[in-house]
């Protein structure tokens, strides 16, 4: 373990170009996936919270089931879609970072939708009627509640980011772990493990944790400043 810690530290200090590229790609793929996933997930979750339609309970049940979707299954489905032999093959985006973003977006949408639905439903109790009284349509109510609970929304996005950057099954399948093109932190760890270089694999794992910790820290700082600014007016 200490060997890995030392190795991790050395890797960071050396600013190894290949490693930097891997980290940057991880951040880029998972970050974009979360933004795209948020677009659909927040909208879907809000819609399910504010709308009333027959079969809503079924959709909610389906959503909760999809939460348990294994990343490798998502990877397989996207692979079959994007393969040249598949329906979307002519786009030729298999084994590219774009395919990885698509797969991870699909992975985080159910998570974000479920969490958003809970968030909006809870706040709907408090203020749904009053916003409707002001003339807001159901979706406007949802959007305003998201604005109201924006720190909660940020937490949801962060949770999704954690899930995305830590998964390996989907990106391995649709990215192919191509050196210099689609290799990310998790697939690197998988590769080093299968090569038997366990200390390096563990070091990369620690690095991954460190990167996520840093992102969390930046978000917390942003939250803190918002709270401080609000407090300053009192």
């Amino acid at each position: 373990m200490t060997e890995s810690l030392g190795l991790a530290w050395k890797l960071v200090l050396q600013f190894d170009a290949a490693l930097l590229q891997v980290v940057a790609l991880s951040l880029r793929v998972s970050g974009l996936a979360c933004l795209i996933g948020a677009l659909f997930g927040l909208w879907l979750g809000t819609g399910l919270a504010v709308a009333r339609f027959p079969g809503r309970a079924v959709v909610v049940w389906l959503l909760n089931t999809l939460l348990a979707l294994p990343s490798v299954v998502v990877g397989l489905l996207v692979y079959l879609l994007l393969s040249r032999a598949g329906p979307l093959g002519h786009f030729g985006i298999l084994f590219t970072p774009t395919a990885m973003v698509i797969a991870q977006s699909l992975l985080v949408v159910p998570l974000m939708a479920a969490l958003t639905r809970r968030l909006v439903t809870d706040t709907l109790e408090e203020g749904g009627d009053q916003l409707r009284s002001l003339g807001a349509s159901p979706m406007q109510v949802g959007a305003l509640l998201l604005l109201h609970e924006r720190l909660g929304v940020l937490t949801i996005v962060l949770t999704a980011f954690g899930r995305a950057i830590a998964e390996v099954g989907a990106v391995m399948m649709v990215g192919g772990n191509i050196d210099g093109v689609t290799r990310v932190m998790t697939t690197s760890i998988a590769l080093e493990t299968s090569k038997g270089d366990l200390p390096l694999a563990l070091a990369l794992g620690l690095l991954l944790l460190g990167v996520v910790a840093l992102v969390n820290l930046m978000i917390a700082a942003m939250q803190g400043r918002t709270v401080l600014r609000a407090a300053a007016w009192t």
Binding site: G31, N177, A230
Partner: protein, 277 residues
């Protein structure tokens, strides 16, 4: 206003993230081909040595998707790769017979070795693989099989057949299939002190040996030939046939063959050129 600030920050972060993408997008304009190959070849480190030389000679990037041999051939059948580089001659010949490629060109060979625990409970040490496997089976000693339709797995199955062991009817006690790559199989063998058949390239690079060591080597039956095949553009029109052919030509020509021969792992030559003009 607080909201404006949050919006501004969100936009900025999107730009930064997309900017990281901009760098890679430019890269996509380069000439490149997708090659389906095997995990053992990649893990031997050969590609890191070979492909930069190819790029320097032709300006073509090779993107390697490394999976098991069976999966690599399937990837090519689906049209997701331009060229295939694996080590399972019967499967490759079938691939050509099915019309997915016009020709299989031999490139190089390396060899397999049988590794096992230092104590060698089945007394396998020597130069006769088939005899060694017979002893492993009769002793019921632990044996790890990749079980993943890879070239290595195919070779292993051929050897068992030669040893007269019918794996379908009755697996020997101690025979375990992991459905995994060479590295993980070695990990399992090291941890459970079992025998395992591995290619020399992966073995030379493998760091987690435990008390495993090479027990059988140099046997003719352990030779492991590699072939390269360009996917037929008639079957898959989108395939970059010209660039893929450039690779096949280069790697079988004296220049490429020399690069292969010059690859060393731990001071030893890992692959032996085998192209026939």
């Amino acid at each position: 206003m607080a909201m404006m600030l949050t919006v501004r920050r969100a936009l900025w972060s999107v730009l930064v993230v997309a900017g990281l993408g901009g760098a890679a997008a430019g890269h996509a304009q380069d000439r490149f081909i997708t090659m389906a190959s095997t995990t053992s070849t990649e893990q031997s480190g050969l590609f890191a040595h070979l492909l930069p030389a190819f790029k320097a000679a032709t300006g073509i990037d090779v993107r390697v998707v490394a999976v098991g041999t069976g999966q690599a051939l399937d990837t090519a059948r689906r049209g997701d790769a331009d060229v295939v580089f694996v080590h399972d001659t019967p499967a490759e010949e079938k691939f050509v017979a099915e019309g997915w490629s016009r020709k299989r060109s031999p490139v190089m060979y390396n060899d397999f070795v049988l590794v096992g625990p230092a104590g060698d409970p089945a007394r396998t040490q020597g130069k006769d693989t088939v005899a060694a496997l017979k002893k492993v089976a009769s002793q019921g000693s632990g044996f790890i099989s990749r079980g993943d339709k890879s070239g290595t797995h195919a070779a292993e199955l051929r050897l068992w057949k030669q040893a007269g062991v019918d794996l379908v009817a009755a697996k020997p006690a101690g025979y375990k299939e992991c459905g995994c790559g060479m590295g993980p199989a070695l990990n399992i063998a090291a941890a459970s002190k079992a025998y395992v058949l591995t290619d020399r390239g992966t073995w030379l690079n493998f760091k987690n040996r435990g008390d495993l060591q090479v027990l059988v080597e140099g046997d003719r039956t352990l030779f492991n030939p590699y072939g390269v095949m360009v996917v037929d553009p008639v079957r898959h029109p989108h395939v970059k046939a010209a660039l893929a052919q450039a690779f096949a030509d280069w790697v079988t020509a004296p220049a490429g063959q020399a690069v292969i021969a010059s690859y060393r792992v731990g001071g030893e030559q890992a692959f032996f050129p085998d192209a026939r003009p």
